[in-house]
C-alpha cells in the first residue's frame, strides 16, 4: 500500500542531543492522524523534517510512495503553524493571494482558489477587512486557509484550535471534515486530547524522539490500560475500611474499583458496599480515556526543561 506520507527511521541530533531516535510513522490517504506527545518529545523537529526546514541525519521520508528529496515535491504538503503566521495588516483576500502566489498559483486558478478559501472559511463578506481586526477564531480560519490554498495532498496542522472558543473549534473541524471528504490526509499535532480522541482516525503517541504507541483509540486503550471500566463511588460518611472488591479512593468518602464486565459485576459490588453498612451517595463508571493512556505511556513528570 502506498501511504500518503511515511517516515522510516528518521534520526536527528543537535550536538549531543538526540531529538529524533528512529521516528517511523505512516499516514494513509484521506486519514486524519493525531500526533500527541509531551513538550520536548521531538514533534516540532519531526514536522520541520517533513517540511524540509530541517534535514534529518538519516532515515527516509516518502510522500505518495516517492522519496521526498526535491523541494518541488513539498508542494504536495501544506503547513498550518500554531502561530497566526499571517500578515495582520493585510486583508483576508490579500493574505490568501500572497500565500497562493508563494505556493505557485497564478491567474484564474489563483482567483478561483481565493474565492474557494473565502467561502470555505465563511469570510467572503469580510474579504476586504484587515485580518488584525478579526476575532481569534476568524484569524485561525484564515491561518488554516493560507496553508491549504494550493490543495495539498497532506496537511500538517499544528494546534489549529489553540485559544479559540468551542463554536470556532467546531467550525474549524467542520472545515477539516470537508477537506477529508476530498481525500486530503491530515496530521494533527495537538495537546487537546479530546480533539485527538474524537476527531482523529488514528493516534500516534510520540516521546523521546520516537513513536511509543499508535493505533485507534480502542487499540491504544486495549494495549496500555486494558478494557476494564473505572468505577468510582461515594458514600455518606467516611470509609474506615474498603469493602470486598473495592479499594479506598482519594477522599475519605470514596471507593474505587476496576470492572471488566460492568453489567454483570456492578450489582455485586454495590451489594458489598451496602452490606458493609455504607449508604451510597454517588456512583460514576468511566471508560479508560486517551488522557490516561497518554499519562501511562509518557509518565506524569513535567517536561519543562
Amino acid at each position: 500500500m502506498d501511504f500518503a506520507l511515511q517516515t522510516i527511521d528518521l534520526r536527528k541530533a543537535f550536538g549531543n542531543q538526540h531529538v529524533l531516535r528512529g521516528a517511523s510513522l505512516q499516514l494513509a490517504p484521506g486519514e486524519r492522524l493525531g500526533l500527541l506527545g509531551p513538550n520536548g518529545a521531538g514533534k516540532t523537529t519531526l514536522i520541520r523534517c517533513l517540511t524540509g526546514r530541517t534535514r534529518p541525519d538519516s532515515g527516509t521520508i516518502l510522500l505518495g510512495g516517492r522519496p521526498l528529496e526535491h523541494r518541488d515535491q513539498r508542494h504536495s504538503l501544506g503547513l498550518v503553524p500554531q502561530e497566526l503566521a499571517i500578515y495582520s495588516d493585510l486583508t483576508a483576500r490579500e493574505n490568501l493571494q500572497i500565500f497562493g502566489r508563494l505556493y505557485g498559483l497564478r491567474g484564474r486558478h489563483l482567483r478561483q482558489r481565493v474565492q474557494w478559501a473565502l467561502a470555505w472559511t465563511g469570510l467572503s463578506d469580510r474579504a476586504g477587512d484587515p485580518v488584525g481586526r478579526f476575532s481569534g477564531g476568524m484569524q485561525r480560519r484564515i491561518n488554516l486557509a493560507c496553508g491549504v490554498l494550493h490543495a495539498p495532498e497532506v496537511i500538517l496542522l499544528d494546534e489549529p484550535t489553540v485559544g479559540v472558543d468551542p463554536q470556532s473549534r467546531a467550525r474549524i473541524f467542520a472545515m477539516l471534515d470537508e477537506l477529508g471528504a476530498t481525500g486530503t490526509s491530515i496530521i494533527l499535532t495537538t495537546h487537546q486530547l479530546d480533539e485527538a480522541e474524537t476527531r482523529c482516525d488514528r493516534i500516534v503517541i510520540f516521546d523521546h524522539g520516537r513513536v511509543v504507541a499508535e493505533g485507534t483509540l480502542d487499540e491504544l486503550i486495549r494495549r496500555t490500560l486494558g478494557t476494564a471500566r473505572h468505577v468510582r463511588l461515594r458514600v455518606h460518611g467516611t470509609v474506615a475500611a474498603a469493602p470486598r472488591y473495592w479499594r479506598r479512593g482519594g477522599r475519605a468518602d470514596e471507593l474505587e474499583a476496576q470492572l471488566e464486565d460492568v453489567s454483570r459485576r456492578l450489582p455485586q459490588l454495590l451489594d458489598s458496599v451496602e452490606r458493609a453498612g455504607h449508604r451510597i451517595a454517588d456512583l460514576a463508571v468511566a471508560a479508560p480515556s486517551l488522557n490516561q493512556v497518554f499519562l501511562q505511556l509518557t509518565g506524569n513528570n513535567l517536561r519543562d526543561a
Binding site: 526546514r53 503547513l79 500565500f99 508563494l102
Partner: protein, 418 residues
C-alpha cells in the same frame, strides 16, 4: 501603587540591556562625538586645515616670499599646482575663456570645482606688488574669509619687510591714493581685505574673492542638507524594513514562508528590491519638494541624481538587511540601528558638514557611507560635475552594498537551518 508602577518600570529597565544602552550610553557617545566636532575639532589640535592650491602667476621674489609666509600659517594646507599641461601655459585650444587667462587658472578652477581644494590662491603681479585672487568654494564660506585675511596679512607683512619705508614728507607714489585707514574699493573683495589699513605708504593688498561654484545663484546650499537628511532617513527606513524580517521570524510567518516555494535568496532579494524602490521614491520625493519649495535644480541634474539615489538606496537596503540578520530580536535591532545610524550620520556629515570636523574625524567619516553618498550628491548639485566624476562614490556604494548583502545572506543561514 504608584511606587509599584515605578518598580515595574525600573525592573524592566534593569532587564533590558538595549534600553539601558539607549538611555545611558548612547547620549554620552553622541555628546562625545559632537564635543569632538565642535570642541576639539575647531581651533583644537586636530582643527581642520583649509586646503589651498597656490598658483604663483607673478613669479617674483615678493610673491615667493608671500607663499613662504603662507606656508607657515597653521590653519592652511598648501598645495602647489603641478607643472602646466602646455609649455606656453596657454589654454589647450588657444582660446582664453572668460575669466580664465591661463591654463593654470583653468586647472586651479577645476580643482576647486571638484572639491580637491577649498580655495585656489592666484598670486598675480600688480603695480604695487602681488595681488591675490581667490577662487573659492562657497560651500565652506568660512574658509574663503579666513584665507583672504591670512593672505592679506602675508602680503602686507612681506611688503613691509622688503620695501624700505617712504621717507617722511615724501608724497605717496602715483597709484597709491589711499591714505592710512581708507577702505580699498575692489569689487568682490573679502571684508578682511577691505578693512586692512594702508600703512607706511603701502596700499592695502588687493584681494578679490570669486565663488567658483556660484552657490548663491542657481545652487542653494539647501541641496546639500536635502542629501544629508535623505541619506539619514534612507538608513532609518532600511533598518525598519529589515525589522519586518525579524517580525516575521518572531511570529512564525518566516517558518511558513519557507514551507512554500520561497527560498531565502528570493526572500532577501525581494526585501532588498522593495527597500531600494522605497528609498528611491522617498529620496525623489524629498528632492522634488526641495525643487518646488527651495529651488533645488533637480530636473537639471536628473542623471547624477538618479545614479546617486540608486546606489545609495541600494547600499542602505543592504545595510538594513545586514542589521536585521545580525540581531535576534526586533528590540535589539531598534537599539542597534539607532546607535549606528545616528553615529554614521554624525560622522558622515548628515548632521554637521564634514569640513567643520577635524582631519581625523573627516578621515573616520569615510568609513560611513553617508560621507560617500553626500560627496556624490555634492558633486551633482553643488559642483555640477559630469556623471563620470561620480565613479569613486558610486564604486564605494555599490561595493559596500554588495558586501552588506552577501554578509546578510551568510548570516541568514541560521533561519534556514533553524
Amino acid at each position: 501603587m504608584i511606587w509599584t508602577v515605578v518598580q515595574i518600570n525600573l525592573r524592566r529597565l534593569r532587564h533590558s540591556r538595549v534600553e539601558l544602552l539607549l538611555s545611558f550610553v548612547v547620549p554620552l557617545a553622541f555628546f562625545s562625538i559632537f564635543a569632538v566636532i565642535f570642541g576639539g575639532g575647531i581651533g583644537g589640535q586636530d582643527s581642520p586645515r583649509i586646503k589651498v592650491l597656490t598658483v604663483d602667476a607673478a613669479g617674483t621674489a615678493r610673491s615667493a616670499a608671500v607663499l613662504a609666509r603662507l606656508a607657515d600659517a597653521p590653519g592652511l594646507q598648501l598645495f602647489a599646482l603641478p607643472p602646466p599641461e602646455h609649455p606656453d601655459g596657454k589654454h589647450p585650444d588657444g582660446k582664453h575663456p572668460d575669466g580664465e587667462r591661463t591654463d593654470r587658472e583653468r586647472r586651479a578652477r577645476q580643482q576647486v570645482r571638484r572639491g580637491e581644494v577649498v580655495v585656489a590662491l592666484l598670486l598675480e603681479d600688480g603695480p604695487e606688488g602681488p595681488a591675490a585672487r581667490l577662487l573659492a568654494d562657497a560651500s565652506d564660506p568660512i574658509a574663503a574669509q579666513l584665507v583672504s585675511a591670512i593672505t592679506a596679512q602675508a602680503i602686507s607683512v612681506t611688503a613691509r619687510s622688503t620695501i624700505p619705508p617712504t621717507p617722511p614728507g615724501k608724497p605717496a607714489p602715483p597709484g597709491k591714493p589711499t591714505p592710512p585707514g581708507t577702505l580699498v574699493s575692489v569689487p568682490g573683495e573679502a571684508p578682511a581685505a577691505r578693512r586692512l589699513p594702508a600703512e607706511a605708504g603701502l596700499s592695502a593688498p588687493r584681494i578679490s574673492v570669486e565663488d567658483v561654484l556660484r552657490g548663491d545663484e542657481s545652487k542653494p546650499a539647501v541641496s546639500m542638507y536635502a542629501a544629508g537628511i535623505a541619506v539619514m532617513f534612507l538608513l532609518f527606513g532600511a533598518s525598519g524594513g529589515g525589522g519586518a524580517l525579524l517580525e516575521e521570524q518572531e511570529n512564525g510567518t518566516l517558518e511558513r514562508l519557507f514551507a512554500t516555494r520561497l527560498t531565502m535568496d528570493q526572500l532577501l532579494l525581494g526585501k532588498w528590491v522593495y527597500q531600494l524602490g522605497l528609498g528611491v521614491v522617498q529620496t525623489t520625493l524629498m528632492f522634488l519638494w526641495g525643487q518646488w519649495v527651495f529651488g533645488i535644480d533637480l530636473l537639471g541634474h536628473w542623471q547624477g541624481f538618479t545614479a546617486m539615489t540608486l546606489v545609495t538606496a541600494g547600499a542602505a537596503a543592504s545595510f538594513g538587511l545586514l542589521l536585521a540578520t545580525l540581531c535576534r530580536t526586533r528590540n535589539q535591532l531598534n537599539g542597534l540601528s539607532v546607535i549606528l545610524v545616528l553615529s554614521m550620520s554624525a560622522l558622515g556629515g548628515s548632521m554637521v558638514p564634514r569640513y567643520l570636523m577635524g582631519e581625523g574625524l573627516q578621515r573616520a567619516g569615510l568609513w560611513t557611507f553617508n560621507a560617500w553618498a553626500l560627496d556624490g550628491y555634492n558633486k551633482v548639485f553643488w559642483r555640477e560635475l559630469p556623471l563620470a566624476e561620480l565613479w569613486p562614490q558610486i564604486s564605494v556604494l555599490v561595493a559596500s552594498g554588495f558586501v552588506f548583502l552577501m554578509a546578510a545572506r551568510a548570516l541568514a543561514v541560521r533561519w534556514e537551518t533553524g
